[in-house]
């Protein structure tokens, strides 16, 4: 019987300050053994519990893509005991990882489809995983047009700036970045995600959306206006979790556990659940 509570040891190889306010760092972790690297099979949208020895563990969406072999990336905001301890870790430290946990974006089902991916602020992490996965040469041919709308309060808060520049240079992705208010030197769009989405009026087979609740609330009606039916709008919930394996009883929405049955649900599935997330 495998013990799902035991973390796997991993080495922190990079602790990178991602945003200008220094509140979000991206951690790159390397598997200590080749065997662990091969056994840790995950898909974009899944999360893991990251443990700082002596402090505890917390759940974070996996920001890396399975196509990036041998490592895991997590972009973590400094908000609690574990995340603060993580921010202060030196490169080379051993941490624990439990996962992969939860379901993932239905990338098999989305093959051959055109996609619009919409992200707001710090919730962009698992969307990075998805985009990297689709853009990988081995997978790009499996998917149709790819539109990405990504917004942050100001340019300094955008995650993965180097990658955004690289994606922007590619012909096979339509990347739209936006910030909330005008800033000198910014040449991209200005405006909140719902407004920008309305302007762009994306036409795709499916939309994947992840962001703060208020952004989701105002963007969903726009997506419906653009013709996305509830079964073609894919969302990711973020409830408080502990065990990550559907037992501790904390993250339920109705009879579903976000940690195990989610975090990915379609709007159609969520419409049938109590509004308690």
């Amino acid at each position: 019987m495998r013990n799902p509570y035991l973390p796997l040891p991993m080495k922190l190889v990079k602790n990178f300050t991602e945003t200008s306010d220094k509140l979000i760092h991206t951690f790159t972790l390397e598997f200590l053994s080749q065997e662990d690297a091969e056994n840790f099979k995950y898909a974009p949208g899944q999360f893991a519990e990251v443990m700082v020895y002596g402090k505890g563990e917390a759940p974070f969406g996996i920001a890396s893509s399975p196509t990036e072999k041998g490592i895991l990336k997590f972009s973590v905001a400094k908000v609690g005991v574990v995340s603060t301890a993580l921010h202060m870790l030196e490169e080379g430290t051993i941490v624990g990882v439990r996962g992969p946990l939860g379901n993932s974006y239905p990338l098999e089902q989305l093959k051959g489809k055109s996609l619009t991916i919409i992200g707001g602020g710090f919730a962009f992490t698992t969307l990075r995983s998805t985009i990297q996965y689709i853009l990988d040469p081995a997978n790009r041919g499996d998917y149709g047009d790819l539109t990405v709308i990504y917004g942050a309060r100001n340019p300094g808060l955008l995650l993965y700036k180097d990658e955004l520049a690289a994606w922007d240079a590619r012909p096979d992705i339509n990347l739209i970045t936006t910030i909330d208010r005008e800033v000198e030197g910014w040449t991209g769009r200005v405006g909140f995600i719902p407004t920008v989405t309305k302007e762009v009026a994306p036409k795709s087979d499916y939309a994947i959306i992840c962001g703060p609740p208020v952004m989701i609330k105002f963007t969903l009606p726009v997506l419906v206006e653009c013709g996305f039916t509830p079964d073609r709008i894919i969302m990711s919930l973020e409830n408080r979790m502990k065990c990550g394996i559907g037992m501790c009883g904390r993250c339920n929405v109705g009879s579903k556990y976000v940690c195990k049955d989610g975090p990915v649900f379609t709007k159609e599935q969520l419409d049938k659940l109590p509004n308690e997330y």
Binding site: M1, R2, N3, P4, Y5, L6, P9, L32, M51, Y53, G54, K55, G56, E57, A58, A77, V79, G80, S83, I94, G96, P212, P213, E238, N239, R240, K242, C243, I245, G246, M247, C248, G249, R250, C251, N252, V253, G254, S255, K260, P274, E276, Y277
Partner: protein, 334 residues
């Protein structure tokens, strides 16, 4: 089979040489489960234990593993309890709760090795209730004072003797080793009469309740139900089917351990997000969660009601909230 009550202590003492024997004992003015070495310690003359039987397999606080961090790396030791155990004299409601908890601790993807290893190594001797308490309502909850589901061996109190039935193979094997006498026809008849005729409060009809609650999430019924509730969570801690837990690390310098502790949906911090958002911000949402989890969500997920009618939540509520009354009110709604 039959056994005189005055022989029980000797058998338990003997069994304790080979097994960890856990039985209800009188301790600090309460009847509670404890490991015993001497059969005289067992107290079988009790209505029910203060804390539920779940604590034997799912302790209130439990170290999952410990670790030492050094320059060479991390050494980890997990603490799975494999000791062969006999639980003697557990009431049918608590035994049934273990059957329900099995669903939670083993799902299609994950197995909780701590709970399940104990479960596999534990034999349960159930004890029927001749006189259910006024707060008992097991008869309403697909259970009952003489329900045998989950017991390996079952005892019926006939006054001077216990009528003993082997239920599972594991139970029958142990009984074969004990070499007990066969029960007479009169004793069998007396046990059958007691088992059929003894009832607890059966006034709550749960038929159709899950479906009804399913359509009631936004109902004004929830607005006032919770008003007396202090949010102390005694109801959930003492509930044999409540299984929510917290996971925390305790560490000093380079040594630490991970513990899990019972937790409860009645606490405001239970669902508080790191962002400050709380999907269940008030008593209304939390009481609704408690009732819905037991009588709707659990039914939807595992096809069983997560309540065995033990009545501890009623008996121990500091403001006398009665779940039976809440359910009766739900039934009465149009």
């Amino acid at each position: 089979m039959i056994i005189n009550k005055n022989e029980i202590a000797g058998i338990l003492t003997k069994l304790a040489e080979e097994y960890r024997v856990i039985a209800p004992v009188k301790k600090d003015g309460l009847v509670q489960y404890a490991a015993i070495k001497n059969g005289e310690e067992a107290c079988l003359d009790y209505a029910n234990t203060k804390k539920p039987g779940k604590e034997i397999l799912f302790p209130q606080s439990e170290e999952l593993f410990n670790y030492t961090v050094s320059a060479e790396g991390v050494r980890m030791q997990d603490n799975v309890d494999k000791e062969a155990t006999i639980v003697f004299g557990m009431r049918p409601c608590d035994v049934k709760s273990l059957v329900l908890l099995d669903n939670v601790f083993k799902n299609d993807q994950y197995t909780d090795v701590y709970y399940l290893t104990r479960r596999a190594n534990t034999l349960i001797v159930g004890l029927g209730c001749n006189e259910p308490a006024s707060t008992c309502f097991c008869t309403s909850m697909a259970c009952g004072p003489f329900a045998k589901e989950g017991s390996d061996i079952f005892l019926t109190d006939l006054g001077e003797t216990y009528f003993i039935e082997g239920i599972s193979d594991k139970g029958k094997e142990l009984l074969a080793k004990l070499g007990l006498s066969a029960a007479s026809e009169e004793q069998k008849a007396a046990a059958a009469k007691l088992q059929t005729e003894t009832k607890a409060d059966g006034s709550i009809n749960i038929e159709g309740l899950a479906e009804k609650l399913g359509g009631m999430f936004e109902h004004p019924f929830w607005d006032s139900l919770h008003e007396k509730c202090l949010g102390c969570a005694a109801c959930t801690y003492l509930c044999p089917t409540c299984h929510c837990f917290d996971i925390a690390d305790e560490a000093k310098d380079c040594e630490g351990c991970r513990v899990r502790n019972w937790d409860a949906c009645m606490f405001p911090l239970f669902t508080l997000h790191g962002s400050g958002h709380n999907p269940r911000p008030g008593g209304k949402a939390r009481w609704r969660q408690r009732l819905m989890h037991k009588f709707n969500y659990f039914v939807e997920r595992y096809n069983a009601t997560a309540c065995v009618g033990c009545g501890r939540c009623i008996k121990n509520c500091p403001v006398n909230l009665d779940i039976r009354q809440a359910l009766a009110e739900v039934r009465a709604l149009d």
